[in-house]
């Protein structure tokens, strides 16, 4: 039993931390959030150079990067890209996954239904028609992976957001740094990625695990930043002649944020490790670990932001103070895919119905 990142993983994290801290101070992130584009245009290449897109990186390392990214609100499409299983092009491009549509409302269902149709023309080329909504980071992605129903079932395809028959409509988003767009395909030529059936189910299962684990890890980073914002303020701000951190009403909120953050961090690491071990692990155990990480991570992020806003007082209510950027991300994470109640229901089914599920 070795529960903790290895020294190589920690080193990777430290390099990422230093890089992100210098490159994305809160002022720059705020500016980008309020800009037309919502992302750092020059943000991608350094990630490729630093090895973030190396297909060999294990998910625990990626979870550490996700944590660091949540800590600064890293304004590139890193999460959308890393949630997809790695590919091996010469120069990796930003990618995103389009799945949410009129018939498919949860990542769980992606393998069984889609409102988009894929047909194969006589020349053997595939074309997709239909609309996907709530596609994250679509405006900055060079490739979009989408699920569509073929006559034999759902399969995965790759399209270019600027390709023929493809149109992208941005929508107003609560989090200006992770905007959602609509993707409309009309007979759009696409490249097949997986055949319908087992290959698609397996790919989608892995995408779901990766996406949700990185989401949970990012949430830990958001919580950690909110905690630091609160603690920093509580040390500096004086009222009634004392730093407000010496008042227990303030201090205990910060202690509670710390507690929730550490527990969520544990669960995110465990999920990452188990996803990497998924070939040797019963799927129910991986599913359960991912659900635990998501529920705990989101709760921690939201609670830590809300505690931080209370500790900051009036300035937290201004556009100028950065805390609302993290709060918006916490809310975004909360809204993504299945609700926490759905995850809890899934866990309860494992605990109370399946006899072979690992308990406790």
């Amino acid at each position: 039993m070795e529960f903790g990142p290895t020294s190589a993983q920690e080193e990777f994290r430290e390099v990422a931390h230093a890089f992100l801290a210098t490159r994305y101070p809160p002022e720059r992130v705020a500016e980008l959030a309020d800009s037309a584009y919502g992302h750092a245009v020059d943000g991608w290449d350094p990630l490729v150079r630093m090895g973030w897109l190396d297909p060999e990186l294990d998910l625990t390392t990626l979870a550490l990067l996700a944590e660091e990214s949540g800590y600064v609100l890293h304004p590139t499409p890193w999460w959308s890209t890393l949630g997809l299983p790695p590919t091996t092009p010469a120069t990796p491009v930003p990618r995103t996954f389009a799945w949410y549509d009129e018939r498919c409302r949860s990542l769980r269902d992606t393998a069984s239904r889609s409102a988009c149709r894929a047909v194969r023309s006589p020349d053997a080329a595939w074309r997709v028609s239909g609309t996907k909504r709530l596609v994250p980071d679509l405006a900055s992605a060079s490739e979009v992976v989408l699920s569509a129903e073929t006559p034999d079932g759902v399969a995965l395809f790759s399209a270019s957001p600027t390709g023929p028959g493809v149109s992208v409509t941005p929508t107003r988003s609560l989090d200006g740094l992770r905007r959602l767009s609509r993707l409309r395909c009309v007979d759009a030529p696409v490249r097949p990625l997986t055949e319908s059936g087992a290959a698609t189910r397996e790919a989608l299962g892995l995408i779901r695990w990766r996406t949700l684990t990185l989401l949970a890890a990012e949430a830990v980073g958001v919580a950690a930043r909110a905690l630091d914002l609160a603690a920093g303020h509580a040390r500096e701000r004086t009222q009634f002649g004392r730093p407000i951190g010496s008042y227990q009403g303030v201090a205990f909120r910060i202690a509670d944020s710390y507690l929730a953050t550490e527990l969520a961090r544990t669960l995110a690491y465990r999920a990452a490790w188990l996803v990497d071990q998924s070939a040797l692990t019963p799927p129910a155990e991986v599913d359960g670990a991912v659900a635990c990480a998501v529920v705990a991570g989101r709760d921690a992020a939201l609670a830590a932001c809300e505690h931080a806003m209370q500790v900051l007082g009036g300035i937290a209510m201004t556009w100028a103070h950065p805390v609302h950027r993290w709060y918006r991300r916490a809310l975004w994470l909360r809204s993504f895919d299945a609700s926490s109640s759905a995850h809890l229901a899934e866990l309860a089914a494992q605990l109370l119905e399946a006899d072979d599920a690992p308990h406790g």
């Binding site: 951190g245 010496s246 227990q248 202690a255 507690l259 669960l267």
Partner: protein, 386 residues
């Protein structure tokens, strides 16, 4: 990261499991655990020692096995999962022994260490007093120097295991009250000495596991002083720190067993289809997983750095709150019959007793308020509130 045991540790776990399986044939889960009498508890301590499971992390020259803390973690975990009886000498093994090894004289070590391992010297801890609970530095029990020793007077409360213990690790004032924690000294006091009166206190659930110890003109020799005179505070802190390393593993393993009992109760009461119950059960499961793996994280850190790290301060906090929620949920599952007790209640009143008793979880061993204060100060770097 590797959540599997190394081969050596897996081997240790397997043998231990076999050993426990032979001695504790009935599993712990189907219903409330059976009551265990004192004679059996004493025999249990002896058999653990004979099998080499006492003092796993103690250095070999002091009769231990010199193993890394991870082994103690495995031991604690497997014992709890197997429903093993309480270890009566737990305070001696996990707190007093390591402190004696660090601060004790050779004579003190010779006198106590082997008997602690064998379960022959049972220890309790006499720190808290009526006027000194969270604020331990306010201890009033006095130890006045006399030729060749000290005379001790005072009252200690809430001392767990004192009703069966042979010795007490006592914190007493040798200096002026104004000196606060600098005027304190630790003593090894024989509870059979003249002037010592141990009165079991009846607990909220009717049991008696802690006692009041009254000391009236109790004479002890100079050899009863553990550590320096006036240096009782660091000695006391060391005992408390030793508790933290693997204690969380024990607590979380016991909680896992308790969770299995909760699931059995959900089924037995026909509430498995209730969505509120299902959501609460799932939330408890998440809290348990978080506790369990954060315990492993702390243990890994302890073996890497020698310091269990800031995680440990939150483990007890989280454990106590989770256990309280668990016992409350289990009790509520009983519906109107939850108002019954003892032999007239479900599982002979097990959940009634556990619910009542679990309220002490956020009080004993550092209250939740004190623990939050520690987190705020040491981890978040906030100014002291006191």
């Amino acid at each position: 990261m590797d959540l599997h045991d190394t081969p050596d540790r897996a081997d240790f776990r397997r043998r231990l499991r076999e050993w426990l399986g032979e001695r504790l044939p009935s599993g712990p889960v189907d219903g409330a655990p059976a009551e265990v009498d004192l004679a059996r508890l004493l025999a249990w301590s002896t058999s653990l020692h004979e099998a080499g499971y006492a003092g796993l992390t103690w250095p070999a020259e002091h009769g231990g096995r010199g193993l890394p803390p991870a082994y103690q973690g495995i031991f604690a975990e497997e014992c709890a999962l197997a429903g093993a009886p309480d270890q009566l000498n737990v305070i001696g093994l996990n707190m007093v022994g390591p402190t004696l090894i660090r601060f004790g004289t050779q004579a003190q070590q010779r006198r106590h260490l082997t008997p602690i391992l064998r379960g022959e010297h049972l220890f309790c801890q006499g720190f808290s007093e009526p006027e000194a609970g969270s604020d331990l530095a306010a201890v009033r029990t006095r130890a006045d120097a006399v030729p060749h020793g000290y005379v001790i007077n005072g009252d200690k409360v809430w001392s767990s295991y004192a009703h069966v213990a042979d010795f007490c690790l006592l914190l007493a004032r040798t200096g002026e009250p104004a000196a606060r924690h600098r005027g304190l000294t630790c003593f090894l006091v024989d509870l059979r000495a003249e002037g010592v009166l141990t009165r079991p206190l009846r607990q909220i659930n009717g049991e008696s596991n802690f006692s009041q110890i009254t000391l009236a003109d109790v004479s002890v020799g100079e050899d009863a002083v553990l550590g320096e005179v006036g240096g009782g505070w660091p000695v006391a802190l060391t005992t408390l720190a030793h508790e933290r390393g693997t204690f969380a593993i024990t607590l979380s393993a016991r909680l896992r067993v308790q969770f299995e009992r909760l699931l059995a109760t959900v089924r037995a009461t026909g509430r498995a289809g209730d969505p509120d119950v299902r959501a609460s059960v799932a939330r408890l499961h998440i809290d348990l997983q978080a506790l369990r793996y954060t315990g492993y994280r702390a243990l890994t850190r302890l073996s890497r750095t020698g310091d269990p790290g800031p995680e440990t301060s939150i483990l007890k906090l989280h454990w106590s709150q989770t256990h309280q929620r668990l016992t409350r949920l289990a009790w509520e599952l009983l519906g109107p019959e939850a108002a019954l007790d003892a032999e007239d209640a479900f599982w002979s009143g097990y959940w009634q007793s556990q619910l009542l008793r679990s309220r002490g979880d956020t009080i004993a061993g550092g209250t939740s308020e004190i623990l939050r204060g520690i987190v705020a100060e040491r981890v978040a770097g906030l100014p002291r509130s006191r």
